[in-house]
């Protein structure tokens, strides 16, 4: 994925997803087309049930689309690929593993030395503010703490592409801002590409280069909005007329 070729990192063409079971079928996504360049920070917003999680699952190679095609780095996505980090909407921690061992899981799978893995995990535990909880089991953590473990886990392989499904959903405003800032820092320092679902439009505008707005069922790309705000952005920018206008446009789009 480090090859510096010209086509976009991710290309989605005429994507459609239909869920079918005995009772009938539901068109979750329809005719989605977009492409994402390397090192872009893209947020996806849309009403509940519009197919955002479904989109992430398709991009990750976890779900085969009913129609259309997704390609990553020019190669069609048929299964999960290395170099991609995912945070699911649920924390999806393994209840039998401690915080530390949940975070080192991806490295274990890559056969990385446990010592090394643990030390990298400890850095991330610091980052997400869970120092002291290394040996706790997921059961005994609060909802937000579980989500932070999942974020740390998605970062531990240092992936080039991050797919985040409402990663800050259960976080309070402050932690949320802190994590957002950290994410931006990591993104800029390590030259990652980020696709993040959020239900907070203001957060999307604040963080992203570009925001995709998905319409309610069947999910369709309603608006593809470039955010021209300069970086680094400050808290005060949220009250600038430009910011307010952008959020307003997005709100209109997903109504």
């Amino acid at each position: 994925m480090n090859s510096a070729n010209n086509h976009p990192l991710l290309e989605v063409k005429d994507l459609g997803v239909t869920f079918t079971d005995e009772k009938g079928s539901l068109q979750a996504l329809i005719q989605i087309d977009f492409s994402i360049a390397r090192e872009q920070f893209v947020c996806v917003v849309g009403p509940s049930g519009s197919g955002k999680s479904t989109l992430i699952r398709v991009l990750a190679g976890l779900l085969k689309p009913t129609s259309g095609e997704v390609s990553l780095d020019g190669i069609p996505v048929t299964e999960p690929r290395p170099g991609v980090g995912i945070v699911f909407q649920k924390a999806n921690l393994m209840p039998w593993r401690s915080v530390l061992r949940n975070i080192t899981l991806p490295l274990e799978i890559n056969h990385i030395d446990p010592e090394e893995a643990a030390s990298r995990a400890r850095d991330l535990i610091d980052l997400v503010g869970l120092s002291g909880f290394e040996d706790w089991l997921p059961h005994d953590l609060s909802g937000g703490m579980q989500q932070r473990v999942a974020i740390a886990r998605s970062l531990i392989r240092d992936p080039d592409l991050l797919l985040l499904d409402e990663p800050f959903g259960a976080l309070d405003a402050l932690t949320r801002e802190k994590m957002g800032t950290e994410l931006l820092r990591v993104w800029r320092a390590r030259k990652k590409t980020v696709i993040m679902i959020t239900h907070d439009i203001s957060e999307a505008v604040f963080l992203a280069d570009r925001v995709l707005a998905i319409s309610p069922q069947p999910g369709n790309l309603r608006l593809d909005l470039t955010i021209p705000l300069k970086r680094p952005r400050a808290e005060e920018d949220r009250f600038s007329p430009e910011f307010v206008d952008l959020t307003h446009q997005l709100r209109q789009a997903i109504k």
């Binding site: 699952r57 990750a60 190679g61 976890l62 299964e79 999960p80 690929r81 290395p82 991609v84 995912i86 699911f88 649920k90 999806n92 393994m94 209840p95 039998w96 593993r97 899981l105 991806p106 274990e108 799978i109 089991l137 059961h139």
Partner: protein
């Protein structure tokens, strides 16, 4: 410190359990009119126990049965786990195999005893087989049920991490299926003892099942009781090991109702 108190309490309960049992037994034999060749008194059984311990025969027969049980359990377990994985994954395999598996379960051993003796000889092998056979099914079923209870979100997680099949098994399926699987093992461990004894009843010249038969043949009911108690202890020991394993492997599981 805390776990020490806990252990003492546990042993206390066990002892209480045994003492209550003994008292009930003594009362029963004293007040009922059942003669002792049908239901002996605790003291008679105790005397017999001392005798067979001293002449070493209890030890010998226990060792034989233990060996059958352990090998049978290991065999049944291995077969069940492997088949369980196959059946949980493939509907085709399940459809073709499952009638045979249920069939193999419901064939009474004595009905195929001649074949067993002819193919496996009168020795220890046929007992291992009966033990393995009876262990197989509960472990198989619980392996399948356990595997089906793995949350699909965690499958997605493992896939997204490009885990190999082997890693998925080791790091996800085995730990997630563990609670139900260990339930199967509890059942299997207890049945393994029955299996071996059933095998010994069909024809054997050693083992605790044989000792039961000898005791019955001699109307030495105390000996029967000694052999049965040893069998019970064996089963309890195996069961206890599984419970111990459970305690360590499932410490992450929150217990409700505590």
């Amino acid at each position: 410190m805390k776990s020490w108190v806990e252990s003492v309490r546990r042993i206390g309960f066990l002892l209480l359990s045994v003492v209550v049992g003994l008292i009930l037994w003594q009362l029963f034999t004293t007040f009922s009119e059942i003669p002792s060749f049908i239901f002996p008194k605790p003291i008679e059984v105790w005397t017999k126990l001392i005798t067979v311990i001293e002449n070493g025969s209890l030890f010998y027969h226990t060792l034989v049965t233990l060996q059958e049980v352990i090998v049978g359990l290991a065999l049944g377990l291995t077969a069940a786990i492997i088949t369980g994985f196959l059946l949980a994954k493939s509907r085709l395999v399940e459809r073709v195999l499952s009638p045979y598996i249920v069939a193999s379960q419901s064939i009474p051993i004595v009905a195929i005893a001649p074949l067993l003796v002819i193919w496996l000889g009168p020795g220890i092998l046929s007992k291992i087989l009966t033990s393995a056979l009876i262990v197989f099914f509960p472990v198989l079923v619980n392996t399948i049920v356990g595997l089906r209870s793995v949350p699909c979100e965690l499958y997605d997680l493992m896939r997204s991490l490009q885990a190999s099949t082997w890693q998925r098994i080791i790091k996800l399926e085995i730990p997630a299926a563990m609670p139900v699987f260990l339930g199967g093992l509890r059942i299997g461990a207890t049945l393994a003892v029955i299996g071996a004894v059933v095998g010994e009843f069909v024809g054997a010249d050693k083992g605790l099942g044989f000792l039961v038969n000898v005791g019955r043949g001699l109307y030495d009911t105390a000996l029967v009781f000694v052999a049965v108690f040893t069998l019970v202890l064996l089963a309890l020991g195996l069961y206890g090991s599984v419970v111990y394993l459970e305690k360590h492997l499932l410490s992450w599981q929150k217990r409700n109702g505590d």
